[in-house]
Amino acid sequence: MMQPVRSALDYVRSTQIWNSIFRHGVPRDRRTRVMAVMSNLFLHLHPVAVRKSGIRLSFTWCMGGLTFFLFLAETISGVLLMFYYRPVPEYAYADIIGLRAHVTLGLLREIHRWGAHAMIIAIWLHMMRVFLTGSYKPPREFNWGVGVILLVLTMLMSFTGYLLPWDQLAIWAITVGSNMGKATPFLGMQGPFTDLVQLPGGVPLVTVKSDAAYLLLAGTSVGENALMRFYVLHCIALPLVLAVLIAIHFWRIRKDGGISGPL
């Protein structure tokens, strides 16, 4: 029964096409297993061998990996969502309704939204794990800092995405959040010391149309400009920055001596 399948697999593995993609044999012995990791762009993020204690689930909780997995899930479901969504007030809400009603297997938004929440939980737990194991200590100080920026960006990703459904939950949550910008010292209309920021002759530089909240919303309240701005931040700007920082984060894990363990 298995014999025809096995010989078919052996044939596939002997073809020139297969051997041009995977430049090593079946990973069954030490040499080919090392080759499998070294000759693959994605797997070579890992070293070829790791401390046994370092990959125990009770040590890592797999939370960093889960955060990255959720980033990928968010990217894929997000790209699919972009096919159906127009970031203007006239259409945004209707497009979300349409996603529910007309799109086959209409779970896209559910996966995207719950995945975003799960990503926040996972990244917090990852931070807690790294803290509790003291893994931020030398030589990993810098990578911890990169991780903190990634944490902030992840929360900003979730925050900018929160506006896009354009329902009551969305605009008022963003209103509450962006009202903080109005209170920024020196740069917000309702913040302290803003009067000090002025040109000679008493011309105020920070006005209701040039303060920190205006920069975020492109308006004095959450409106169509804010929707477009959050859409671009959410779909283009922040993911690009995240992707670069994730690359640095992963690369530095290896450069800083791999996964941590007792010294």
Binding site: A49, I55, L66, L70, L169, K182, P192, V222, G261
Partner: protein, 382 residues
């Protein structure tokens, strides 16, 4: 489907709990009374202290099973005895909070359990279970397969979550009609909860900014070389106490308050209380300047704002700028000598600002203090 079944099962009809009797109502009243921040935050803090001190006891499997069972019966069982609590817990956007609390509890147990084992071995002079650096495995297959299994399980969990629970969608955006309460996304509700005690420029800008700078600075401030790469409590007491208090109490607990217990007009409601949008809570908070001039000296407030707020300005300046120096010269002099002045003052500055939040909370609860410094002339209220 679940959205239909669960409330029907639990409520036995609209608005009524599944079952109730006078004794349960008494307990509910007691829990409601104890859940106000002035009682529950100290209770949580005591719980945190016990968690840190008794980590060798509560992490034993038998104890943790009993604790978890009790907590889950209280947390989930309450859905059966109270309709308001059920409404809060089954709100789709609140489901992540429940998942976070469960995951965080599990992770804390796993961490503290290993810390207890590691600390006991270190005290007995034994090597750590994972001390052997040369004990290595190949990434293919060990790590790659672990990752793949995690990925499959996570995908399944995410799809299941998405099938069971629809993503929330309310009525279309109406710029003229804010809902009551208006809440930020749940992961920012700790900050929104801080707005009760501080103005937006502190709660929304300064404090989050200092959280980020403090986190980034942490590896450079914490020069304790011990406890690198394994779970331990005994070797890093100061770092763990401060950081976990900040994360668990001042961040996670405040998020739970903000999501579960803050209702219309941001009034506080116990878990079993109806969110009454007509509830009026009198604003009785008093500024430090009023306490000093009116109640203390029995005279009207001075006209000059800086004279009026002198006490508050001196106090705030002392707390933020002088207190780190005092700490360096007194209780923390050993730490100061080890760390050097730059590291110490960066650490101490973040520490006193963080401590300002519980300080303000306690003063609010005890003396209804509104502001240390009240300078509306400059939008500068502290």
């Amino acid at each position: 489907m679940t959205q239909f079944i669960i409330p029907t099962l639990a409520s036995g009809g609209a608005g009524k709990p599944f079952f109730t009797n006078p004794a349960i109502e008494k307990i509910k009243d007691l829990v409601n009374a104890l859940s106000v921040p002035e009682f529950s935050l100290p209770i949580f803090t005591v719980g945190f202290i016990l968690m840190m001190l008794w980590y060798r006891k509560w992490t034993k499997p038998k104890v943790i099973i009993a604790l978890t069972a009790g907590a889950c019966v209280f947390y989930f069982g309450s859905m059966l005895i109270d309709y308001n609590y059920l409404l809060i817990l089954k709100k789709p956007d609140n489901v992540p909070i429940t998942i976070m609390l469960l995951a965080m509890g599990l992770c804390l147990w796993v961490a503290f359990r290993q810390a207890a084992i590691n600390d006991a071995r270190l005290e007995a002079g034994l090597p750590l279970p994972d001390a052997d650096k040369e004990d290595k495995v190949l990434v293919w297959p060990d790590l790659v397969y672990t990752e793949m299994i995690c990925m499959v399980l996570a995908s399944a969990a995410l799809v299941l979550w998405s099938i069971v629970l629809r993503a929330p969608l309310e009525s279309p955006a109406n710029p003229a009609g804010p809902p009551n309460p208006s809440k930020a996304p749940w992961y920012f509700l700790g900050l929104q909860e801080m707005l009760v005690y501080f103005d937006p420029w502190i709660a929304g800008v300064i404090l989050p900014g200092l959280i980020v700078t403090g986190l980034i600075a942490m590896p450079y401030i914490d020069i304790n070389p011990k406890g690198n790469g394994f779970y331990t409590i005994a070797q890093r007491k100061f770092a763990l106490w401060v950081w976990l208090f900040g994360f668990l109490i001042l961040w996670v607990v405040l998020i739970v308050f903000g999501t579960f217990l803050r209702g219309p007009n941001w009034n506080f409601f116990g878990p079993y209380e109806y969110w009454d949008s007509h509830l009026q809570v009198p604003l009785t908070n008093i500024n430090l300047s009023d306490y000093f001039w009116v109640f203390g000296l029995g005279q009207p407030l001075p006209k000059n704002p800086f004279a009026r707020e002198a006490v508050g300005i001196v106090f705030t300046a002392f707390w933020c700028l002088a207190l780190p120096v005092v700490l360096a010269r007194t209780v923390m002099y050993r730490m100061y000598n080890q760390m050097g002045s730059t590291r110490f003052y960066i650490m101490a500055f973040h520490l006193v600002i963080m401590a300002m939040l519980p300080l303000k909370m306690v003063l609010r609860w005890l003396f209804t203090l509104k502001y240390f410094v009240y300078l509306p002339e400059f939008n500068l209220n502290i």
